[in-house]
Each structure stands twice: as structure tokens, then as C-alpha cells.
């Protein structure tokens, strides 16, 4: 099973639900990796809804595992993208063209959900029309507070900023605008003294 029960957390962190079919003027679905399972669950509940859906899917490490199943669910459009960055322009286009009453389904990693949510809200899709479900990796997207660079798929704490190279710990603080946690230098007061990294939620 690709679901994960997050421990009780801070006020700034988003919480996720379970996708369910909702009537709407358009059905837009976006998922990465195991997020596909959440979309397939919607398709199983309401195959007719799936046949009207525009699905954008980023397989990441799952390769071809879910692509055939998604295709078999027979969505109106299935676009498979190699990365979130690669499909950002398409998302922009699809979200902007969404009619009043369109329903948006976001499923998969926190990084994907957070970025797509920020983009959709910025474009003007109302929050009440957006459902989210976390699936798969519990990796976090982290912004380095020092250089402002964002490191994707952070699984350990502390970690090294992929931009400036500082050793960062992940502060329990999340920005919806950036769709990222805050990373802060861990050895500022004792340079070089970096504790061993631990796996998240281990």
C-alpha cells in the first residue's frame, strides 16, 4: 500500500485527504509515481468520470508500472511527462483553460501536490475545487533559507543543499507559496560538526 500516516504536525503543514469522484464541468487529474493508484481508485468508483478526464502523469521511479493501468482506465487524455518541470507549461495552459466548476485531483508526493496546488490557486482555481491525496514517497521539498535554492526529494535530515552545499536541517516550517519546508544550516555555531543523517520518519 502506498499510503502513509503522517505524525501530528505543525500548523503550517498541509494535510491530505482521499480522492473521490466529484461532478464537474471538467476533470483534471495530476499524479506522480504511486499517486497513480489514487487516480485508479477514482476510476474504479466512477469509470464514466474517468473517461472524461485529462490525466497528466509523472511516473518517476515507477517506470511503466502504472502507465498501462491508467491507459486501460480510458481517460479522455493521458499525458505522460518525464518530470514536473517538464509539464509546468502544460499545467499552466490546462489550469488556465479550466472552465468554472472544473474539478482538480492531485495525488502523489508532497512536492508535486504542493507545487500544483500553488500554481492552481495562483491561476484562480478555487481551493474548494481541489482534492489532494498523498501517496508514495514521504520525501520533502526543502528550500535553503540561505541561498534560496530548492532541493527536491529530500529523504534524510540533515542533508546537503544541492545548490550552495551548506549542511541543512529541516525546520518544522512549511510554505505553501514555495511548496517547501525550510532548511537551515545545522553547523553554523560549530562549523564541521554535522550529526549523522537519519532517514525521515524512521
Amino acid at each position: 500500500m502506498s499510503t502513509f500516516q503522517f505524525p501530528p504536525s505543525i500548523a503550517s503543514r498541509p494535510t491530505y485527504g482521499t480522492l473521490g469522484p466529484r461532478a464537474g464541468a471538467a476533470q483534471i487529474m495530476l499524479a506522480d509515481a504511486e499517486g497513480a493508484e489514487a487516480l485508479l481508485a477514482v476510476a474504479k468508483t466512477d469509470p464514466e468520470l474517468m473517461r472524461r478526464a485529462h490525466v497528466i502523469y509523472i511516473p518517476k521511479h515507477t517506470g511503466a508500472q502504472f502507465i498501462d493501468q491508467l491507459r486501460a482506465a480510458n481517460p479522455a487524455i493521458l499525458h505522460v511527462a518525464p518530470s514536473y518541470a517538464a509539464c509546468t507549461q502544460r499545467l499552466h495552459r490546462v489550469f488556465s483553460a479550466a472552465p468554472m466548476g472544473a474539478q482538480l485531483y492531485l495525488a502523489g508526493t508532497e512536492g508535486l501536490i504542493g507545487q500544483a496546488m500553488a500554481l492552481a490557486l495562483q491561476i484562480g482555481i478555487p481551493k474548494s475545487a481541489i482534492q489532494t491525496e498523498h501517496r508514495g514517497s514521504v520525501a520533502r521539498r526543502v528550500q535553503c533559507v540561505h541561498c534560496k535554492g530548492i532541493t527536491e526529494d529530500v529523504m534524510i535530515d540533515p542533508f546537503q543543499c544541492s545548490h550552495c552545499g551548506l549542511n541543512l536541517f529541516v525546520r518544522d516550517h512549511y510554505s505553501r507559496r514555495l511548496a517547501a519546508f525550510q532548511g537551515v544550516c545545522i553547523d553554523a555555531e560549530d562549523p564541521g560538526n554535522v550529526p549523522p543523517s537519519v532517514e525521515l520518519y524512521s
Binding site: 540561505h146 534560496k148 525546520r171 518544522d172 505553501r176 507559496r177 514555495l178 553554523a188 555555531e189
Partner: protein, 355 residues
């Protein structure tokens, strides 16, 4: 009185000093010998003559040097000043509030002439004399919030009010106690306070928000907050923590009185008239412990507060590692005598330190 402005620095050689006048008017934040979070909100309607509460926007001997330090921070990192697009009107509200109040409270330092929307602003300490069109951004060298807060001590968070919440949608933040405007911009009241320990569970933020949502125009409020800072460093930002953090390890019993500072924020809250936004000025005052203990009551009390502070708070405020060293120093100034209630120095009635 005429203020003698200091020529001093808040970085590198740290020439910042408080005069005897500045020490006696320091906003000591502890009204009793212990401290715990509370909403501690009161009306901001003046205070004893000469105190930091007397004027709406206090100007003191550090004014010119603090503004110079702010300009340095902004040159290095322009993201310290940001305003989301819908906040420009609140910026004009803020510019008006500060110009009107400062010209009324300090007529010898600031002048404002208004002829319809043609305004002339004279800031004598900073040698500024600008004429501009009120509400016309193109007539000022910066946006209205940035323009006026480059000339006003203290950080500024400008909060939009909607959905029964407050949203951090604009700000000028260069003298902060370790929080990032760039990260927090766009967050609501509960989100930007998320990292603060204990207070959520105590319901402090719910009560504070309820109070703030009801602040009315012409009826500002205030509270104090505090922390500890090694060296008189105004810019204790998370952005630069990898540079200044190491300074926290430079304390020794010999230099502690000079290097360790109590950092107090006078936070005020004003409703703005056109935008209905809430502006939240956060004014930072620093005092070296060796200066603070020249007020016997404050020396006694600070020792007791720091000694009895819960570990979570000392950790959050960033001085848990230095607490033993700080207590060694402060204990010399605590003879165990009782202290008078309230924050004032009470120099005439409190006994000198008994050795």
C-alpha cells in the same frame, strides 16, 4: 529634548552603544521575577514622558545608524522587503500614518506639508526633502512601504485581513529575531507562528488573533517580546545565520557583560484606514548586560527570569548553550532582595546592590 544621534555600527566592529539616557528608557520587558508566554496586549496610548512608549513611532539616538544598517541589508538581499501586488494601498496607508505621526510628534525633525495630493516630506536627520503625489507610485523612488520604512526604525509586517485571519502579505524585515519574510510571506497568522513551541497548545495564538482582528482605527495596541543576542547585531536573520551563528560561541566570562545583549521588541498594531490592513511594527531595542545591570532592579530580575525559564523557551530563543555562562555573570547582580512590581527602573526607591 534634542536627540544626539550616534554614529555607530551593528556589524563588524560593533561600535553600537547606549547612552545613560537610552539605558534608563530601555523597554525592560519583565514586570515580575518570572516569564511565561501571554497575550500581554495593551493599548498603545503613550506612556511616561521620555519613555519609548511616549511617541507613536519612537525615534532615538540610534536612528541614523539603524537606517544605514537597513540600507546595507537591502543592498545585499532585496528580498527582505516584499509586497504582494494587492498590498500597495496598505503601503500608502502606512506612509501616511508614519509621516503624519512623526511630523506631529517630532516637529523639529520631520515636516509634512499636504496640499491635496501634492505632499512634501522633510526628514532632517536623514537630509531628505521629497515632493511627491500621494497615491502615485511613480512619484517616489521606491514603493510607498519601502520608501517610508527605509526611514523608520523597526521592522514592519503589513497584514491583510480576510477569512477571519491575518495574512503576512507585505513587509520590511531587516532586524528580525530569526524569521524570514521571504519564507513567511503569504502565510496566515497560525502558519507563520508554526515553529513557536508551547504557545499553540496554550491557546495563545487563538486569543491573540481574536484581539488583533478587532483592533480599530485610531486605537492601536502594543506588546513586548524578547530574546538574547550575542553582539549588538540587528540583522539576526535566518538568511545570514550561517555567518552570524558562530558569534554565539565567542562568549567568555570576561567579555560576556559587553557582548551579551538583551533584545527587546516593542510590537505595535495599527489598523490602516483605506486598506483595512493591520500594520505590525516590530521595533528592536538592544542593551548590553553590563549596562542593564547598572539598574539594580533589572539586574536582580533578569537573573531570576533567565534562571527559571523553561528549557523549550531557552532553546527556541537560541541561548540554551550559553545559559550557564549568562547565569554565572548575572548571579553577581542578584543579592536576593525582593524587587518592586512593574517594569520601571525605580532607581529612587530600589536599594543598591548589596555585595
Amino acid at each position: 529634548m534634542t536627540i544626539q544621534f550616534n554614529d555607530e555600527t551593528f556589524r563588524d566592529d560593533y561600535t553600537f552603544r547606549n547612552s545613560d539616557w537610552a539605558i534608563r528608557r530601555f523597554p525592560f520587558p519583565f514586570h515580575e521575577d518570572s516569564y511565561m508566554y501571554s497575550v500581554n496586549m495593551e493599548r498603545h496610548r503613550g506612556g511616561p514622558e521620555g519613555s519609548v512608549y511616549a511617541k507613536r513611532f519612537d525615534v532615538d539616538e540610534h536612528y541614523i545608524s539603524e537606517m544605514r544598517d537597513r540600507a546595507l541589508v537591502l543592498a545585499e538581499d532585496p528580498l527582505r522587503c516584499q509586497s504582494l501586488p494587492h498590498m500597495t494601498l496598505a503601503g500608502w496607508d502606512l506612509l501616511e500614518l508614519i509621516m503624519v505621526n512623526k511630523s506631529e510628534d517630532y516637529p523639529d525633525l520631520f515636516e509634512l506639508d499636504r496640499d491635496g495630493n501634492k505632499w512634501r516630506w522633510i526628514n532632517k536627520p536623514l537630509s531628505i526633502d521629497d515632493s511627491f503625489i500621494f497615491m502615485d507610485e511613480a512619484s517616489l523612488p521606491y514603493g510607498p512601504m519601502e520608501y517610508i520604512t527605509r526611514q523608520t526604525q523597526g521592522d514592519f509586517a503589513v497584514l491583510d485581513q480576510r477569512e477571519n485571519n491575518l495574512w503576512m502579505d507585505a513587509g520590511m524585515v531587516t532586524t528580525q529575531a530569526d524569521w524570514s519574510l521571504d519564507f513567511d510571506i503569504g502565510m496566515n497568522f497560525f502558519e507563520w507562528h508554526a515553529p513557536v513551541p508551547l504557545a499553540h497548545e496554550m491557546g495563545v495564538f487563538k486569543r491573540a488573533l481574536k484581539f488583533l482582528l478587532n483592533v480599530q482605527q485610531g486605537n492601536p495596541a502594543r506588546r513586548l517580546n524578547w530574546t538574547m543576542t550575542v553582539n549588538p547585531l540587528l540583522d539576526t536573520s535566518p538568511e545570514n545565520y550561517h555567518k552570524w551563528g558562530v558569534q554565539k560561541t565567542t562568549l567568555t566570562p570576561e567579555n560576556l557583560g559587553r557582548k551579551q545583549h538583551l533584545r527587546v521588541e516593542l510590537q505595535t498594531f495599527y489598523r490602516l484606514p483605506r486598506s483595512n490592513a493591520l500594520v505590525f511594527p516590530i521595533r528592536c531595542y538592544l542593551i548590553a548586560l553590563e549596562d542593564l545591570v547598572t539598574i539594580p532592579k533589572w539586574g536582580r530580575r533578569l537573573h531570576r527570569v533567565i534562571r527559571d525559564l523553561p528549557v523549550e523557551l531557552a532553546t527556541y530563543k537560541g541561548f540554551i548553550d550559553n545559559r550557564p555562562l549568562i547565569l554565572d555573570y548575572l548571579s553577581q547582580f542578584d543579592d536576593g532582595l525582593p524587587t518592586s512590581p512593574g517594569v520601571w527602573p525605580d532607581l529612587d526607591s530600589e536599594p543598591p546592590l548589596r555585595r
